[in-house]
Amino acid sequence: MMKIDNSLPLEYKTEQNQINILGFWIFLGAEIMLFGTLFASYFTLVNRTGNGPTGAEIFEITPVLIETIVLLTSSFIIGLGIHAMRLGKKTAVMIFFAITLLLGLVFLSFEISEFVHYVHIGAGLQTSAFTAILLTTLGIHGAHVTLGFFWGLFIILQIKKRGLTPEIANKSFIFSLYWHFLDVVWIFIFSFVYLKGMM
């Protein structure tokens, strides 16, 4: 189990590490279907606004653009983090991960204020089918980011305490897969919920 293949990056070095990474990719396949189903429902219900507002009436490009840039940047930063990890630079890894999570918090704070704003202007969860699927889709993505925040935090604490062992490198890499995936989902939300809605 602990046979180490030193020709590979740290996160793949042991057999169990490779198994963990493949398992997580398959989980991401399932997540593609999860968000795929949300999108299918979104496109079906997008025009069913009942007595409530449409997307065009409530979306504002500025906060959405900020959210997008923030998330894209956080994805870049964690990419730097993994790069540093492969070079064995423990402190750099912790700093890059911390910045990533900070940007995640910024994203979440913008999203929460976005939700509060929507409720204020009459586009709450219960208003119509459209608002329900809109807020649920955004909310599930946001919940994933929130979970990711805590997960990433725990990893930083473990790096601090135990250093960059193959196991921790493995966990960090898997976390980065998760974070990148959330960025991919956001790109689709940005394009097909917001931009399409404001076209």
């Binding site: 189990m1 398959i26 189903t37 969860l125 219960q126 329900a132």
Partner: protein, 647 residues
């Protein structure tokens, strides 16, 4: 008293009260028994905290058999109620509750755990592995299923059973038309169990792709393992759809959203659509491992290798993909235009082709074989003609224009029972009988088994064949009664008689287990059927580490070939073996999730918040945990092997 009012049954009757008493007494008896025999420690150490795939498989099996009993009782009640016109055994409300629970229990809590029981026990052994890729996750999967099942099963004594059908269509399943918490139980219990299944899907795919013993390439894997791979691939991509649908249904019922309502833009049809996007792949999840079981059994007892291994593999891969393309055939009559319906008609008929290929391959395997009609073989041979009836009636239903006549009549009910029972249930009984000696160290009695088979096979046809005609004559599905003038009486009476026969047959199955447990010899070979695949190359009982030395296999039937050539699969010396540690976290986390689910059903938000935090604490614990398992020393291996070889 107001707080406790919510737990009252909205529509009580004497049977429900009797059940409350029975459940209470059973729980007390179990607790008393465990205490008296001082088995709490044993239970915790050996079963509640196990991560061993063999133990987990057995727990799935016991759960499935228990649920088979519950679903079967539901079935007898339905057939008894409809045996004669204008019957008053069950009123409409209770009939609705019974057919709803029958469907959910049989599909989600009987068939699914049954296939996972067999896959858990057999697949790692067939690929020469020591366990699955993620043993802890495997344990979590089982306990999530178990808690989902328990949550669902107490609905009828606390708060009220769901009653909107196993398909739970909106707007019927919405708050206005289903006021009791029954449908909340549906949404949440299925969500919990579904999560467990999704995790298993990821686990098994990773296991099969990454943990095969050296020499076992993909195209040299046993066919049952291939069926497990394709079925779990479906799981990974289908179950998230159910997750979303159930979430939206829960939100409609508990948070006042408008996904599936008839106002404010809600679209009730969307529920049916999403449900079946999951639901159709679900039935293929059930049938593919069943096909895998048949392939193993038919080749073993025809004493020859499976005909057309490659085409069997390809057909299962194609089936797994096509299964996602046919779902609309479950609601042809919901209002789609002819073009849409026709597209799905074509995909539906297309999926019959790879299935047909498999049937021909089985027949060709039998053709030149030396057939030994053991109990597993009887079920497998019986499956072929009976399932074919289900299959061809499926093609009839798949023609969208014609389906307007058959949809939601008893014809449909007959069709799906003709595919699911000979398809899945026969395979499960056959697989259970076949792998029983490897699991428990003794054989099930052949004579009793044969009696059970004939009772079940014949009674099955007596029960369900009349339903084709009743359906064509106009009897709708889910009708709690009918008048004499409809003329449905005689056919339904026949069904009831058949149902009694089925009850006898399943009773014989249970009796067989008891009888064999008491009287069967424990002195059996580790390969009692003279079989062909690697799981039979283990000792009886299978040691915790499965294989002392990882086998080297170089053909599809490595074990059989080794037996013929007199060569050994196990080369080299003993080395210390790394095994995962037991853990109580999966069980504890699942108990928290059960409590979460129960609180959610009754909108008790404070316990919901507390248990949610508890679950996250468990996950955080797991993140920080350092657990490198343990090693079994060479001395221990030698000791175990010598002991077992003596047997």
């Amino acid at each position: 008293m107001n707080f406790f009012d919510r737990f009252a049954i909205p529509h009580p009757n004497i049977a429900i009260y009797a059940s409350m008493v029975a459940i209470g007494m059973t729980v007390i008896a179990i607790i008393a028994g465990l205490t008296y025999f001082k088995k709490w420690g044993y239970l915790w150490r050996e079963w509640l905290t196990t991560v061993d795939h063999k133990r987990i498989g057995i727990m799935y099996l016991l759960s499935a058999l228990l649920m088979l009993f519950r679903g079967g009782v539901d079935a007898i009640m339905m057939r008894a109620q409809t045996a004669v016109p204008d019957n008053t055994l069950l009123d409409a409300q209770h009939y609705n509750e019974v057919f709803t629970t029958h469907g959910i229990v049989m599909i989600i809590f009987m068939a699914m755990p049954f296939i996972y029981a067999l896959m858990n026990f057999v697949v790692p052994l067939q690929i020469g592995a020591r366990d699955v890729a993620f043993p802890r996750l495997n344990a979590l999967s089982f306990w999530l299923f178990f808690m989902g099942a328990m949550l669902f099963n107490i609905s009828f004594v606390i708060g009220g059973s769901p009653d909107a059908g196993w398909t739970s269509y909106f707007p019927l399943a919405g708050n206005k038309l289903s006021e009791s918490v029954g449908t909340n139980y549906y949404m949440i219990a299925l969500q919990i169990a579904g999560l467990g299944t999704l995790l298993s899907g990821i686990n098994f795919i990773t296991t099969i792709l990454k943990m095969r013993a050296p020499g076992i390439t993909l195209m040299k894997m046993p066919i049952f393992t291939w069926s497990a791979l394709t079925a779990n691939a479906i799981v990974v991509f289908a179950f998230p759809v159910l997750t979303v649908a159930l979430l939206m249904g829960t939100m409609d019922r508990l948070f006042g959203t408008n996904f599936f309502t008839t106002t404010n833009g809600g679209m009730d049809m969307l529920w049916a659509n999403l449900f079946w996007v999951w639901g159709h792949p679900e039935v293929y999840i059930l049938i593919l491992p069943a096909f895998g079981v048949y392939s193993e059994i038919i080749s073993t007892f025809a004493r020859r290798n499976l005909y057309g291994y490659k085409s069997m593999v390809v057909s299962m891969v194609i089936i797994s993909f096509l299964s996602f393309l046919v779902w609309t055939h479950h609601f042809f009559t919901m209002g789609q235009g002819a073009l849409t319906n026709s597209i799905f008609s074509i995909t539906t008929m297309a999926i019959g082709i790879p299935t047909g290929i498999k049937i021909f391959n089985w027949l060709l395997t039998l053709w030149k074989g030396k057939i030994d009609f053991t109990v597993p073989m009887l079920y497998s041979v019986g499956f072929i003609p009976i399932f074919t009836i289900g299959g061809v009636t499926g093609v009839m239903l798949g023609m969208s224009a014609a389906d307007y006549q058959y949809h939601n009549t008893m014809f449909l009910v007959a069709h799906f029972h003709y595919t699911i029972i000979p398809g899945v249930v026969f395979a499960m009984i056959a697989g259970l009988t076949y792998w029983w000696p490897k699991m428990f160290g003794f054989m099930l009695n052949e004579r009793i088994g044969k009696w059970a088979f004939w009772f079940i096979a014949i009674s099955f046809n007596v029960t369900f064949f009349p339903m084709f005609f009743a359906g064509l004559n106009g009897q709708a599905r889910r009708m709690y009664t009918y008048s004499t003038s409809t003329g449905f009486g005689p056919l339904n009476l026949l069904s009831f008689i058949g149902a009694i026969g089925l009850a006898v047959g399943f009773g014989l199955l249970v009796y067989n287990i008891y009888y064999s447990f008491r009287y069967a010899s424990r002195n059996i070979s580790s390969d009692p059927w003279d079989a062909r695949s690697l799981e039979w190359a283990t000792h009886n009982p299978v040691p915790a580490y499965n294989f002392a030395i990882i086998p080297e296999a170089d053909s599809i039937e490595a074990f059989w070939d080794a037996k013929q050539k007199g060569s050994s699969l196990f080369k080299g010396e003993y080395k210390k073996i790394h095994m995962p540690n037991n853990s109580g976290v999966p069980f504890i986390m699942s108990c928290l999730i059960f409590t979460w689910g129960f609180s959610f059903v009754f909108s008790m938000w404070i316990p919901v918040v507390i248990t949610t935090l508890g679950v996250f604490v468990c996950m955080a614990h797991r993140s920080f945990e350092i657990d490198h398992g343990h090693y079994i020393s060479v001395e221990e291996i030698e000791e175990t092997e010598n002991e077992l070889r003596g047997a």
